[in-house]
Symmetry: C2
Subunit: 521 residues, 2 copies
């Protein structure tokens, strides 16, 4: 048999006998090669690199793991995990060939970006399309993100990138002329206004189908906090039904495939610490475009420990949002808010949910700054309604809240999504962090508060977090409690307490030391 | 038992029961997690990301693979491959914790580079040190390389980077005042001058302990070609002994740990197609510094399909080599050579070895361009000898070659390294690529010739490659052979032939069309 003979001869060269490895590796194809295999040694294959496995015109990509283990596979064999084996669809013992996976075609555009070129709309579509089809390794995604970060994206590029990301997934269509949304760029502990804006706006009758993310680097996201009260993981069908009936929802966005490439890129952006304005705007607006929002209010907190620390940057960011919004057909209003300190008292899912319910229930103890901020944001969203005059929104929002209609709306949404039978309590381990001297609170470091709350276990441990007793401008006496740390587990509690003892995040001084800036409200 | 109880409670939270997976994964630690595991779902762990596994103050890093396979491990368990399990050194069933691996400390410098800052010598040391200790993922290496590529490295940064890379591995010390070396930046097929320069220079008595790399993107490197004639994989001890006795060697550099971080970075540079001047200079000179070279001749081929295509870039590159060389104490001479076409006739290990031996044997059929280039390079290296007047080197080199002393030196080196009993023959499958019309050869595309030779199977298949019959300025008649493709395997042969039929790499025209440029020789 001539074919077999020549195939056998090639076995010495670059062909390998296929063998199945009895591990089902979920979403990722994994291939195994023996470290004493000639092909591995000669061709410079590397552990964890992507290879292409081909046979009879078919080919699959897989991540390579080098093993020293002859009991798993011999030199001259290529092992494939169950799912990769199924995908290739040939029998064990078949001779297959491997090579370094060719780089995705759109890497050519990334190379041009590295050389400082501006990319076209077609380039961004090619890149996001390759990424969403898993053709980019993390190394290649890093090359794209870093090149875009160093050379910057001009506003046209941000527009192209936004459209390209939105096109990688599904698009929701609510079949209504006004679909309201609000978004905060993040960074401020306790800033749970969304859970107040949604019931107020929905009670007015305006459509606000709000989906939120879970916390990534913060101690609580809206989805984490809402989850304390209700189910947030809803199928697209159920979400639609709830929104139709109640005009709003407070769901986790992870079940819909909205601009999924953004979720992929964030797994590279975050560990690399890439934080670029153009990237952020494209990331936010692509999700909103895919979610079918027509009117969007954006909250940019501004302050010495907020994400935006210079007013010039805040203004630049606003212009960029407006530019892209106009071109993708979303009516955008941007407001720059007071980001000098946490909003409300609680930091962490359970404590933040408590604050939100206090405001909705018109509890006299409710944190007034959270109430005020939510009313102002809700007012601006209500003014998207052409029948509401500019400036009237706040009074309408306040009326909806004070009358209990917002609470009724929230209860209806909670019941529709699936009310939790038992609301978890704040953590059982507590420590009061006290003032080292008497004085006035002149600064609260948002980053520090976030960090201590995360060390305490938030958001994984719903009851973990921080409860703030003092805010900017408050007078404290030496030994008086500034805040209380809550945790459920000894080691986390220790970490949080140690961190707070090194730096509580509070600065005490004279009233005149407090940073003041002109905010829009 | 209170501890056990609390530990059990934490099992729901973030602790996992350790289990051993019977796969020995060679150099890379691999960890497995079930996709239905709560920790995986809640914490956003990703397949192929790096995690830190810790228990009792010990911790190891591992690459995570998500499996769907309850027979391998259950939700709530963490599987470790044999080598990772040994490294962690605790019993099966122990509760361990996992988290996203913290980024290496020096990523902070990379972030500054992304923001456009210039890095200090300490920064480069911190980065290369973290990389050589496997603390960088490919994603992080890509971030470093791309940021350096986009913002550029100024000449001081190239100097710092060179020193930092050299410091990551061993340093050779030959204990002689003059240790000669030559290096070509690559890109020209058939350019095997090193295999002529070494025996000529060694025959003169000058120390030239040459180590070379294997081909990465070309159809043959010096190590691949020398390997046709002799063993090239030598232990450091044997290499030293050979060099002491014969004043030279032609070995593969992979056995010594010279600037190993460069070998790591190249696995990211290559697929990303990063080709930056500063990176190249630091990469070459760090290896030379580690190899103990004191005098170095650098060959920069220049031409329309060479790596360097503008004279201004060639000059810039020369200045950069000189700047860094002066500061690291290596005497550097840079020459810009004719890179308009391949050198010699053969392209591919066996065919190139044939050309080299023809020149050494003073065969009248030996390719004269290879002989000329080698003599001129050898002459310049010989002039590093303070006793040789400027301009005399060429005549001395020619005398050594013509007298047969170079051949004797080469034979001695081959015997010392380990002569091959049987030299492989050129590939059994051949095709002559012919001229589509009569005319003069006005251009030969180096990239195209390299590509066709690689498709034919070089350098893995030693006998594969191309034998050139016509060079620049030669007249050809329609139907006359331009070159012959050699291959040993049907499919490679087909690929190479198809590629050559699409574009042979040859341009035919009028003699006046040939690019001419002023070269140094």
């Amino acid at each position: 048999m001539k074919t077999r003979n020549s195939a056998h001869k090639r076995g010495k060269h670059n062909s390998l006998r296929l063998t199945r490895i009895a591990i089902d590796t979920y979403r990722e194809n994994v291939a195994y090669l023996n470290c004493r295999c000639e092909v591995y040694r000669a061709e410079g294959f590397q552990s964890m690199s992507k290879i292409e496995i081909s046979v009879d015109g078919k080919s699959i990509l897989a991540v390579l793991i080098i093993v020293r283990d002859d009991s798993i596979l011999a030199p001259g064999e290529l092992g494939l995990s169950e799912q990769a084996f199924r995908q290739l669809g040939v029998k064990e013992g078949t001779l297959v060939r491997i090579r370094h996976a060719p780089p995705p075609v759109s890497m050519e555009a990334v190379r041009r970006k590295i050389q400082g070129e501006r990319l076209s709309e077609e380039d961004f579509h090619a890149i996001t399309n390759d990424i969403v089809h898993n053709r980019y390794s993390k190394m290649e995604m890093a090359a794209f993100l870093v090149s875009a970060s160093v050379t910057g994206l001009d506003r046209d590029e941000v527009l192209y990138y936004t459209r390209a990301m939105a096109d990688t997934g599904d698009r929701l269509n609510w079949k209504e002329p006004l679909v309201a949304d609000k978004h905060c760029i993040g960074g401020i502990p306790g800033n749970r206004t969304t859970m107040l804006v949604v019931p107020i706006v929905a009670a007015h009758g305006m459509l606000i189908p709000k989906t939120s993310s879970r916390a990534i680097t913060s101690p609580a996201g809206t989805a984490d906090t809402m989850e304390v009260l209700a189910e947030v993981s809803l199928s697209p069908e159920r979400l639609h039904a709830i929104v139709q009936k109640h005009r709003g929802c407070l769901a986790w966005g992870g079940t819909a495939r909205l601009a999924p490439v953004d979720d992929t890129l964030i797994t590279v952006e975050r560990p690399l610490g890439i934080d670029v304005m153009g990237q952020m705007v494209a990331s936010i607006l692509s999700k909103k475009l895919a979610a079918g929002s027509t009117h969007l209010l954006i909250d940019i907190p501004f302050g010495p420990s907020a994400k935006v620390r210079e007013m010039s940057k805040a203004t630049q960011l606003r212009k960029l949002f407006e530019f892209v919004g106009d071109r993708i057909g979303i009516h955008i209003e941007v407001i720059i808010t007071d980001g000098r300190q946490p909003v409300g008292r609680g930091v962490g899912p359970v404590l933040e949910a408590r604050d939100v319910m206090q405001v909705l229930e018109n509890d006299p103890d409710a944190p007034s700054d959270l109430r005020q901020k939510a009313l102002r944001l809700a007012g601006r969203v209500l003014e998207f309604d052409p029948d509401i005059r500019g400036g009237q929104g706040y009074a309408i929002a306040r009326d909806i809240l004070d009358s209990g209609r917002a609470l009724a709306s929230m209860k209806a949404i909670i019941d529709a999504q699936g009310r939790r039978k038992k609301i978890p309590r704040p953590g059982r381990l507590t420590l009061d962090v006290t003032a080292p001297a008497s004085g006035t609170v002149t600064a609260i470091d948002n980053l520090r508060i976030n960090r201590i709350a995360r060390l305490a276990g938030a958001p994984m441990d719903k009851g973990a977090g921080i409860d703030l007793f003092k805010k900017l401008g408050d007078s404290v006496k030496k030994g008086e409690a500034l805040y209380r740390i809550y945790s459920d587990f000894d080691s986390e509690f220790q970490f949080a307490c140690e961190s707070a003892s090194r730096d509580s995040g509070y600065t005490l001084g004279e009233k005149a030391d407090i940073t003041t800036t002109m905010f829009e409200f």
